[in-house]
Symmetry: C2
DNA sequence: CGCTTCTTTGATTCAACTCAATGGATGTGG
DNA sequence: CCACATCCATTGAGTTGAATCAAAGAAGCG
């Protein structure tokens, strides 16, 4: 099946709900997201260009490959899966993204999006028009620094994934994956030990370079050895130290 | 063995040779490297801050993890291996870099280098002081765009590696690796079919998540099936189409 | 409520790893 | 310049971790 904007359940931004005006100044994510470390007066400038769009439902795409690159997207609530299709139409997942995280950087160079970005659950987000962002960057050095940091961050995140995919066993890959989620949720002020997996086993396997069956088996093994509990989408970590040990140098 | 600056053969930049003053304006890489698309007047500003350092010998490090991040590095001639060590001291290669390519982006956020960067052969490079670069970015919009493009490029490159490592067979991985080198050398005006492999089989395997023996076996297989010839470090591609086909959607 | 999709478990297969050994290349010191 | 040591690359044999194939149960959806 070819995915187009048309066959997704709902077009991004066409929700019947009007979202309240949300500003960076009052946003609870401001210390994690783009505004991190910015002075109040500069935040106001940011607010002026950032469009917080109405929420979209699970299964909708934020962008498709080939779409003209206009904006980066900052996630406010919900989660996003970023993926590409190979020439056989097989999905290859690049990453999962959560509140406070910004996506779309890979499109800057090509001036077109090169990935699919789809909501894994109801999603609210801010649209960051890149051209206007560039102008502000030139104006506010702090803000330019912050943009470079975000891009640099994205590169580091991908380094970590490369290290995870290369030369790690299925057990280690899954441990690293779970600890990464745990750490990210902790930063958001959510529980680091009990959380929801917004993606399917299939998607976890795809992301980590494992078959679904392997993911399922490792989960079962981790339950048996009392490292964690998984009931459908709910995961609770029971032995963080043991999981951490499985990660090796990573996360 | 722990690697420190002290036990590398020669300290970066302490060559007894004085390198001739090289400028972006006259550099043959200017269309590939940082200056791509910049106007002459802006190139001059760039030249003013860029330090082209004396060549360093094979085995020397450009930077070590933990060193304060001061500069990005643009490669002029030679090649660089970027890697990290895991907690067991095992090397994990992140990438190989060639003339016109810029490294060090992952250090921006942490303000320290997080990888090792080592010369695989005699290396000449330009040092790009990041603070000064930031200032120029704010001044010259074109240049800011270019920096964003370079960062975005790096992200794309890593996406490709992620796709390569995840779910590809040994044959496919090696085909993708070879085609990637071929394409990069072609851009530099070198031969796309006959080139030197500056890295060992061990290093290729490490980078691709394969055992040395597997790399060796695949090379032998590719020779037998007339896809290419490898004699020690010299590789010649004999059937580009077949190699390309093995790559799937990639490169 | 029936259909589809997701998850789990078992049996079997296979690609790549490990272990082992050899040959070739490179480098060092006498 | 040769002898020796070291490192790198190749090939073979055997093992294994994860994939594939198959099937059944559970959950989500219209």
């Amino acid at each position: 099946m070819t995915i187009t904007k048309e066959n997704t359940k709902e077009i991004a931004g066409r929700s019947i709900f009007r979202s309240p005006r949300v500003s960076c100044v009052t946003c609870s994510l401001s210390e994690l997201c783009l505004p991190r470390g910015l002075k109040k007066e500069n935040l106001d400038k940011l607010d002026y260009i950032i469009k917080n769009s109405p929420p979209i439902a699970k299964g909708n795409h934020l962008y498709l490959p080939g779409d003209d690159f206009k904006s980066l997207f900052a996630i406010r609530t919900g989660s996003v899966k970023v993926y590409v299709l190979d020439k056989n139409g097989e999905e290859q997942i690049i990453g999962f993204y959560f509140p406070g995280e910004v996506i779309g950087f890979d499109a800057i160079n090509k001036e077109k999006y090169i990935c699919y970005a789809i909501a894994l659950e109801t999603l609210s987000y801010c649209k960051l028009p890149f051209e206007k962002m560039s102008l502000i960057c030139a104006e506010i050095p702090e803000f330019q620094d912050q943009m470079f940091r975000l891009l640099s961050d994205e590169i580091s995140t991908e380094h970590d994934l490369i290290l995870t995919l290369s030369k790690r066993t299925a057990d280690e890959k899954l441990a690293i994956f779970i600890m990464s989620l745990s750490n990210r949720f902790a930063k958001l002020g959510y529980s680091s030990t009990v959380f929801n997996l917004p993606m399917s086993r299939q998607e976890i396997g795809n992301y980590l370079g494992l078959a679904v069956e392997t993911v399922s088996r490792v989960f079962t093994k981790f339950k048996r050895t009392e490292l964690l509990d998984v009931d459908k989408k709910i995961l609770s970590i029971k032995d963080k130290d043991a999981l951490h040990a499985l990660c090796g140098y990573n996360k």
